[in-house]
């Protein structure tokens, strides 16, 4: 259960018949800010907001703060300390400050499943959250910050549903935070520098890594440094990457460039993978070669987690180098929906430095919005932090942008594109051929069931968009994106009854009403 600081109306303790937190319990129970996600953006935002006197609740699905990039081992694993990736020395301090801050209310193990608006709560919003054991609750807040992070970019190819195929983020988490390691030979394939970090992590755990295959030419550390100019904070990380490469080669790991994985083979588990040479645009040129492997680790880059923004109705824009569909915002990180702000990877996948800087700026903007005194110096500093981080992230985004068209071609007719509903590429191709006027991914979803399963399209939207774009010879963004509805992460049907009773008989608004601190109320 969550830790509560000064506020005792936390989830599960509110005791209202409607299971509403910070709602119907008087002004004291209403949060000024609800933050979804306790990664670099969410942690920085929560601390900055609390520094400006805001009452903050932070919700995260995981058990501890840090987000995916700084996922901490469980507290039960004594002696386990977080070792942040090189170049992110500030992470440990940020996490410790966040965990020690008595002003914050934190709710770990809870998933945000959507936002509701309630006439009895003008100027506020209700964040519905769900827990694997405790069901659904609602949190009332004046402002919302979406800091939901990113997940590994899914790429469909023959055999990618086989046990033994995992994303780089998955393996990193299991090794670093759960302290388990794969047994047998491991092949890593993709296009993102994270692959090198994960390969290094595995080698240091004594795992046999037979090959790391990169779709592009591997940029040399010197190239990266040249591209970056003088950005002191990142030099260490890049130097580290160079060291990793040398260490892998020394350990007998084959590091291949211009190579993609075209198939994973095996009966009940991966037994071997097929790797093929590709051209500059990642199109397969040669005959694949087979490599024995018990595990295949995929790291093509990241997709921004935008389902909550979608459910709320925020405008999104398609930007391939930034991670596909990302949330539109102004220069103070306001989304198109009043009261809803965004920070971190959902604005465009740009790494932990930029996420932290955006979290700080968003919190300052929210504090100002709620009538708190925010110094011009603090705002200027936060903006400078974002500018500095952007110089680095833009280079990385450009250098490692996935060649989506070529990746789309990896799926053959029999390849499962939608893992949840087991819809093949062939089904999509046949439908698109028979329905020449369909040019929208949601139309494909309704007809072919792609994206209708429990993952709600997170793992097939990219493939469907690419296949559609290729069939219609149109840009990927023109095909649109899947819509998202509450609950954005599926929950047992019974859990939604809580929301029914809440909507049928909303409790009274807090006596002063939200925004009773004299700040302007939000429209709509």
């Amino acid at each position: 259960m969550g830790r509560t600081g000064t506020d005792h109306n936390a989830i599960g303790q509110a005791g209202t018949e409607h299971n509403v937190v910070g709602h119907g319990t008087g002004q004291a129970g209403m949060f000024d800010l609800a933050v979804v996600g306790a990664g670099p953006a969410g942690m920085a935002a929560a601390l900055t907001a609390a520094d400006h006197g805001l009452k903050v609740v932070v919700v995260d699905e995981q058990q501890r703060a840090g987000g995916q990039i700084f996922r901490q081992p469980p507290e039960e694993f004594t002696g386990s300390v977080l070792r942040p990736t090189a170049g992110y020395g500030w992470a440990t301090g940020l996490i410790r400050r966040f965990e020690a801050d008595e002003r914050l209310t934190t709710e770990f193990g809870w998933s945000a499943i959507g936002v509701l608006y309630d006439d009895a709560l003008p100027g506020g919003l209700c964040l519905a959250v769900n827990h694997p054991q405790d069901g659904t609750r609602v949190i009332g807040a004046r402002r919302l910050l979406i800091a939901t992070g990113a997940y590994d970019l899914p790429v469909a190819f023959p055999g990618w549903t086989l046990p033994g195929v995992m994303t780089a983020g998955a393996v990193q988490t299991l090794v670093k935070a759960q302290k388990i390691a794969p047994v047998g030979d491991v092949v890593l394939a993709g296009a993102h520098p994270l692959l090198l970090l994960v390969a290094d992590l595995l080698v240091r755990e004594g795992v046999r890594v037979s090959e790391v295959a990169f779709a592009q030419n591997i940029p040399k550390p010197a190239d990266l440094l040249h591209a970056l100019g003088a950005v002191p904070g990142h030099v260490r990380m890049l130097a580290e990457t160079g060291g990793i490469l040398a260490r892998l080669v020394r350990n007998g790991v084959r590091v291949s460039s211009r190579t993609v994985v075209t198939a994973a083979r095996g009966e009940e588990h991966v037994a071997r993978v097929e790797l093929a040479r590709v051209d500059r645009r990642w199109k397969v040129t040669g005959t694949p070669r087979a490599v024995d492997a018990s595990h295949l680790v995929l790291g093509y880059g990241f997709s921004a987690s935008t389902e909550l923004a979608r459910q709320i109705g925020c405008d999104l824009v398609y930007d391939s180098p930034k991670g596909g569909w990302v949330v539109s915002h102004d220069d103070r990180l306001r989304t198109s929906v009043p009261g809803v702000f965004v920070a971190g990877e959902p604005t465009g996948v740009a790494g932990a430095d930029q996420s932290r800087a955006e979290g700080e700026l968003a919190a300052l903007a929210i504090a100002a919005d709620l009538g708190r005194d925010v110094s011009a110096t603090a705002l200027a500093e936060a903006e400078r932090g974002i500018r500095t981080a952007t110089r680095f992230s833009t280079v990385v985004q450009r250098m490692f942008e996935p060649a989506r068209e070529a990746l789309g071609d990896l799926a053959g007719r029999d390849t499962t594109v939608c893992r949840c509903e087991t819809v093949t590429r062939g089904t999509l191709d046949d439908f698109l051929e028979a329905s020449p006027f369909v040019s929208d991914v949601n139309a494909v979803k309704l007809s072919c069931r792609t994206g209708m399963g429990p993952c709600q399209g997170r793992y097939c939207e990219g493939s469907v968009g690419t296949i559609l774009a290729s069939a219609r010879e149109q840009p990927i963004g023109l095909g649109g994106r899947f819509s998202a509805h509450l609950p954005i992460k599926p929950v047992p049907v019974g859990d939604l009854r809580t929301l029914d009773s809440f909507l049928d008989a909303p409790p009274d608004a807090p006596p002063d009403g939200p925004g009773g601190d004299g700040s302007g109320a939000v429209d709509g």
Partner: protein, 96 residues
Amino acid sequence: MTRDDTWRRTARRRGAAVTVVVDDEPVPACTGETVAAAMLTAGAAFEQDSGGTPRAPLCTMGTCFECAATVDGRPLTRTCLVPVRDGMVVETSRRL
């Protein structure tokens, strides 16, 4: 149980030893581990897809739902997010 040779525990200093029950089979685990990590280490099978083909966790961060199972009677629980508790009951059925 399918394969018990695909994942191993590394750190020795883990949580207390507990047992979870996966499809009527006892699976040893340590507090702090997620159900998915305990299942991977034990070689326990995850839910099969509608065609009866084996599946296993892909993301282990709560987004892909490949590790979902019925945990203590609650369906669609992402086992990668839930820490083990002694006596926890996990059921993996073929998806509809």
